[in-house]
């Protein structure tokens, strides 16, 4: 039993996270403070949310390069709507954001499932399209803090018992998707399709529906994250969430998700996101130039993928 737990990727990650935290806190004492940890968790929340979507797409053997642009487009759309029609209640905006996300994801999903275009090509294309539309709807302008109401800005920041709404929503999403992927039929079908497409067709799984579902749900998560993103940072701009694609993919592969599809867990992905959040925070705490961030993330993805592949080959 103990051996089984120790061998799990989630356990390895947890050990890695704790030792990493201890090493950094030796160099920078503020790192261990409760305030800083709350920052890390809040910063990680958005990443974890979208990474779960990315996880579902990688699970079926695909990849979604449009998540960053999807976050930006939803965020910009709802921010503009809120700016010009502040009378619309917040809960309607939340629903609308999820709906916009669903439709962006559905567009990807339809092209992948119905027209059988490879996910990398579809999402490379829609990455350009969605990002372009952010510019078109905003005409290149920003929506900044003073154009948003306090209720809007407090949506992710408010909270109770010291837990922000943002973190609360993310934890709720993690639980829902952990149950969905682990214990529901539709969720298990995602694993089956990614594990062996031909076999899953023979046992009667609707491949088109399953693939569409993965992309649609990813879109919905991007939509929700887009709203929370612009509200949290109190600004929506054309380059919102630029480079977010790699971070979500990094969270997945660090969390033990295989690029070949069919394996990985929601908990692993959430811990992977936390790992990236801690690394990013540590860079700031140790006063390392932010220019290191991009290269370091590329390196993390590369190393994680290499480790995953070697481990898979051994078993």
């Amino acid at each position: 039993m103990l051996e089984k737990v120790v061998k799990k990727r989630e356990f390895t990650l947890l050990v890695l996270l704790v030792s990493f935290t201890l090493i950094i806190s030796l160099r920078s004492p503020r790192f261990l403070s409760i305030g800083n940890f709350r920052d890390i968790l809040d910063d990680t929340a958005l990443l974890a949310m979208v990474a779960m979507g990315q996880f579902m797409v990688i699970l079926i053997g695909g990849i979604d390069l449009s998540v960053g642009a999807g976050v930006a487009l939803t965020g910009m759309s709802v921010a503009l709507l809120h700016q010009y029609h502040p009378e619309i209640p917040i809960f309607a905006i939340v629903l609308l954001a999820i709906l916009i996300g669903f439709s962006l994801g559905s567009f990807n999903g339809i092209l992948v499932s119905l027209f059988r275009v490879p996910p990398i090509i579809v999402t490379l294309g829609t990455m350009g399209i969605y990002r372009g539309f952010v510019f078109v709807v905003s005409k290149g302008a920003w929506v900044s803090a003073h154009e948003m109401s306090d209720a809007f800005k407090n949506l992710p920041r408010g909270g109770f018992l010291g837990v922000s709404n943002l973190l609360f929503v993310t934890i709720l999403c993690v639980i829902i998707f952990a149950i969905f992927l682990g214990y529901t039929r539709a969720g298990r079908e995602l694993y089956a399709v990614g594990g062996n497409e031909t076999a899953s067709r023979y046992v009667g799984i609707n491949l088109k529906k399953t693939k569409y579902l993965a992309f649609m749900l990813t879109g919905g998560l991007c939509g929700l994250a887009g709203l929370l993103w612009v509200a949290r940072y109190a600004s929506a701009q054309s380059d919102t969430a630029l480079g977010f694609n790699l971070q979500t993919i990094a969270a997945c592969v660090v969390g033990g998700v295989s690029f070949f599809g069919g394996s990985g867990t929601v908990l692993g992905v959430a811990l992977g996101a936390l790992f990236l959040g801690i690394v990013n925070n540590a860079l700031t705490q140790l006063r390392i130039s932010p220019f290191w961030q991009m290269g370091l993330q590329g390196l993390i993805v590369l190393v994680a993928v290499i480790i995953n592949t070697i481990m898979e080959k051994r078993t």
């Binding site: 490379l124 399209i129 372009g132 690029f259 290269g295 590369l302």
Partner: protein
């Protein structure tokens, strides 16, 4: 199954290359309506400066996609090569030949790095080159930060800005044409090219036939690295400066052009003629959009749709052709 009979005219017109050619003509007509100066030969020659570097990377990308791989790290390689050239020029005062050498060597090394990880460890090319895109550009950011290098020697400018002798024919255009001819011959007339198609169609079968699949895939990645380095030399020379964000987002356009040129995204099919027409079509279309001041980020909408249409359209055309053929046979 190609019959030697004369093809009916509608079948020739429905060939993908013919459709591409019509698209190219349409773009030229629209452009000349937008600007009366466009149809001037010197102007057309000058506009080729804007897309020859991309065209040079499209050629090896054709090899990669035909053999059912993908490389999205090319723009990162451009940034890294340009960055090292900038360092050599700024701190060592390197001359033009040394700069070219450094640019090519950096590109080649990055390509070899990708190729080794993909073939030796057996990791999907998407994962490795996606990480590579950020790793390579990330190194450029670490080295340069928010600085720019502009201290290139005067003779270096010829590569990206110069023309052949006293003519108005750009050096870049000539270089591209020579490379396109070489790539065309390798693809269509050599065993190497044949092997690319074999690997793309069925890599397991290709391996059983004694083709060293991984060696060829490795060579493809080394090659695209080398040519990305070359594109970096030309681009750096043309704009005369290096910033870490150089060539951001080029992978979208390069892959779009390759697929639009008729290279089958699932591998195993493609030809040089379609790809070359696609390079000029997209290049001139982009130029046309810049004539009416369309911002680059909005052009990406067009590129994105073009990429998806380029994959959907040939499929539906094939379907249509089959329907017409079966109808004729029934008669």
């Amino acid at each position: 199954m190609r019959s030697t009979e004369k093809m009916p005219i509608w079948r020739i017109l429905m060939q993908w290359e013919a459709i591409l050619f019509f698209m190219l003509v349409t773009v030229i007509v629209v452009n000349s309506k937008l600007s009366p100066y466009f149809l001037d030969l010197n102007n057309i020659l000058r506009t080729t400066f804007n897309f020859m570097e991309k065209g040079i990377i499209v050629l090896p990308m054709m090899f990669i996609i035909i053999s059912r791989d993908i490389d999205i790290s090319v723009a990162g390689i451009i940034a890294l090569s340009s960055c090292f050239m900038g360092l050599a020029s700024q701190h060592l005062g390197a001359g033009t030949p040394a700069l070219i050498f450094i640019g090519l060597l950096t590109g080649l090394s990055a390509g070899i790095f990708n190729g080794l990880i993909i073939t030796k460890i057996g990791i999907p090319a998407i994962a490795v080159t996606l990480a590579g895109l950020f790793l390579f550009r990330g190194i450029a950011y670490v080295i340069l930060g928010d600085m720019a290098v502009t201290t290139y020697p005067e003779s270096f400018a010829y590569l990206g800005q110069g023309c052949i002798g006293n003519t108005r024919i750009p050096f870049e255009l000539v270089l591209f044409i020579i490379l396109a001819i070489i790539f065309g011959i390798v693809l269509h007339k050599t065993t190497y090219g044949l092997n690319l198609f074999a690997i793309g169609n069925n890599s397991t079968a290709a391996r059983f036939f004694g083709i060293n699949v991984n060696r060829i895939r490795f060579l493809n990645f080394a090659l695209i690295g080398l040519l990305s380095g070359l594109a970096s030399v030309l681009l750096t020379s043309r704009i005369g400066s290096t910033r870490p964000n150089i060539a951001t987002g080029w992978e979208l356009e390069i892959i779009t052009i390759t697929v639009l040129g008729g290279v089958y995204i699932f591998g195993g099919a493609g030809n040089i003629l379609g790809v070359v027409i696609a390079i000029f079509m997209v290049g001139l279309a982009r130029f046309g959009m810049s004539l009416i001041n369309v911002p680059g980020i909005v052009m990406n909408i067009a590129m994105g749709f073009l990429l998806i249409i380029a994959i959907l359209l040939p499929d539906s055309l094939r379907e249509l052709q089959r329907k017409i053929l079966t109808k004729q046979q029934q008669r």
